[in-house]
Amino acid sequence: MLVAIEPKAPDILSPIRHRAEVMANRRVATETWWLELDSPEIAGRAEWGQFVMIGFGLEHLAPPFLPRPFSVAWRAEDGRIGLLVRAFGVGSRRLAELRAGEHVLLLGPLGRPFRLEPGSRVVCVAGGVGLAPFLFLAGDARRQAFDVDLLYGELTADKVFDAGLIEELTGGPPIVWTEDGSLGRRGRVTEGLSVEGRVTVLACGPTPMLRALAGRAAREGFDLQVSVEEHMGCGVGTCQGCVVLGADGRWKKACTQGPVFYASELTWSPS
């Protein structure tokens, strides 16, 4: 059983690089795996929305050669971290095949986390495996007496991560949306967002979803933080590979200036 630990104050420590044992890897929905790794140091330091680079090391020439970024989805008192893996590329497919006892190379925790404003209601909007960072954020925030809604959208019911497990991890039921209506409410998860009073909206998911929310945030004037995704090389700001366009017209590094940005910090070009 995973037991949540309380978040620590943000720090400026260097990330940790270590070889981590796979403790468990189980399929939790169509093409979706819940991967648990033994990583006490990362578990003890990861903050909401931070990520790890996960790879196979220098000996491994078969794809994936480069490590891949994954949001920390869970951290437990026993030193495990959990990642939510959807298999759609060579990197994620290989991660889906991992078995308990295998080892991976981890670097983390990395990146700028989500920030909550005291006294503000929190609405998490998750598209697909964008659910990952909210699995530990929602539970932590609720324990800190934040009022939290978790809106979770998938295309179809078969892709929905076990709602019972989400409730167990986060301390409350998610509001599930599917685009075909096969589970929960029918439509896009962004339709479920109602913004009244003082609210902080946090979002993680496909770029079109983030773009739609950013448009609403600009029109309706609410605070929106988004976790972005971009091809990444190093994860620590050296290669300058993972850029997104800032509102000031300058490129911003998703790995160190993000992955969490205020939506107002970025340029949202039409799709």
Binding site: F65, P67, C234, C239
Partner: protein, 311 residues
């Protein structure tokens, strides 16, 4: 017996033969705490141009078989910010590892402005002149034009007493010609090689994966080409050569050293494992111990060619 890794080059002593390659270690500080920088031979900074450059649109990187493609586009903070914000950290935090500043420009004057602008600063040993970036318009111009290269190297020689290393492109029919041009015009050394141009296509979208359309290929896939071109360059001139391309182990580095390199650079491997440079350095030491070789310098250029070989 502890093997001797030290070598005297460019007027100083390198405590070890492994440097971090330009573009893969930022300005050093990004890897502080993760890589024992001051135990390495040194590092080469991200390219510095006179003015800040914003770089290319994403995607800028993607995986390729046995490596990666990148088209960052020489994004950098520019000469002034480099001198005031980046160089002081290197000066204050690296006592033993040597720093080369990678220099780029669109014209001879731009290269010269960077060199003359930095020359009185502290915190670095010399310059690595980038005439070989495939990801900006004209980026390889100086590296593929014999007269332009001669003019550039000669001009930079007149601007500085510090070591001037020229990082050559692999995209020429005979790298030896360019190696000799560098030597004849006063360069102190060569770095071989920069990335190979390449392209990846997304067949679903029928579009290039990389925002810049094409990019440079690096990583283990290019190791044999790097070894070959290092050997060609090292045998074509008498300049010390720094071998680069796909190095991820001591054995890989030793191939470059036997081909004629005095030093090596580790780049893309750092993204796979930040411990890569230390791993390479330890691998070289282990090899020397196992082979009963007292000093690394005994191996430099120690390739044994078969008797029938025509060089």
């Amino acid at each position: 017996m502890v093997p001797e890794l030290r070598q005297s080059l460019f007027g100083v002593e390198f405590q070890a033969p492994v440097l971090l390659a330009s573009g893969t270690c930022g300005y050093g500080r990004e890897y502080a705490g993760l890589i024992p920088l001051d135990e390495l031979g040194g590092l080469v900074t991200k390219a510095v141009s006179v003015e800040p450059r914003s770089g290319n649109p994403p995607h800028r990187v993607a995986e390729t078989p046995g490596g990666m493609i990148n088209a960052i586009g020489l994004e950098n903070v520019g000469l002034d910010a480099f001198a005031s914000e980046k160089l002081p950290w290197l000066r204050d935090n690296l006592a033993r590892a040597h720093v080369f500043v990678n220099v780029v420009g669109r014209t001879v004057d731009e290269y010269a402005a960077v060199v003359s602008g930095l020359d009185d600063e502290q915190g670095f040993l010399g310059y690595e002149i980038n005439v070989s970036c495939p990801n900006v318009k004209g980026g390889t111009m100086f590296g593929t034009d014999e007269a332009a290269l001669a003019e550039l190297v000669g001009r930079l020689r007149s601007e500085t007493e510090r070591p001037v290393i020229v990082k050559l492109t692999p995209n020429v029919p005979d790298i030896g010609i360019y190696a000799r041009i560098c030597e004849e015009n006063g360069a102190d050394g060569l770095s071989t090689i920069n990335t190979f141009p390449g392209m990846l296509i997304d067949i679903q979208g029928r579009k290039p994966v990389i925002g810049n359309v094409s990019g440079g290929i690096s990583g283990p896939a290019i190791l044999p080409m790097g070894v070959y071109l290092t050997w060609r360059a090292a045998t074509a001139c008498s300049l010390p050569v720094i071998g680069i391309g796909g190095i991820r182990s001591g054995e890989d580095a030793l191939q470059y050293i036997l081909a004629g390199a005095h030093l090596v650079q580790v780049g893309t491997a750092l993204f796979v494992d930040p411990a890569a440079a230390a791993t390479v350095q330890e691998g070289i030491s282990s090899y020397l111990v196992d082979a009963g070789i007292g000093s690394l310098s005994e191996l430099v250029g120690g390739l044994r060619l078969p008797g029938h070989a025509q060089v």
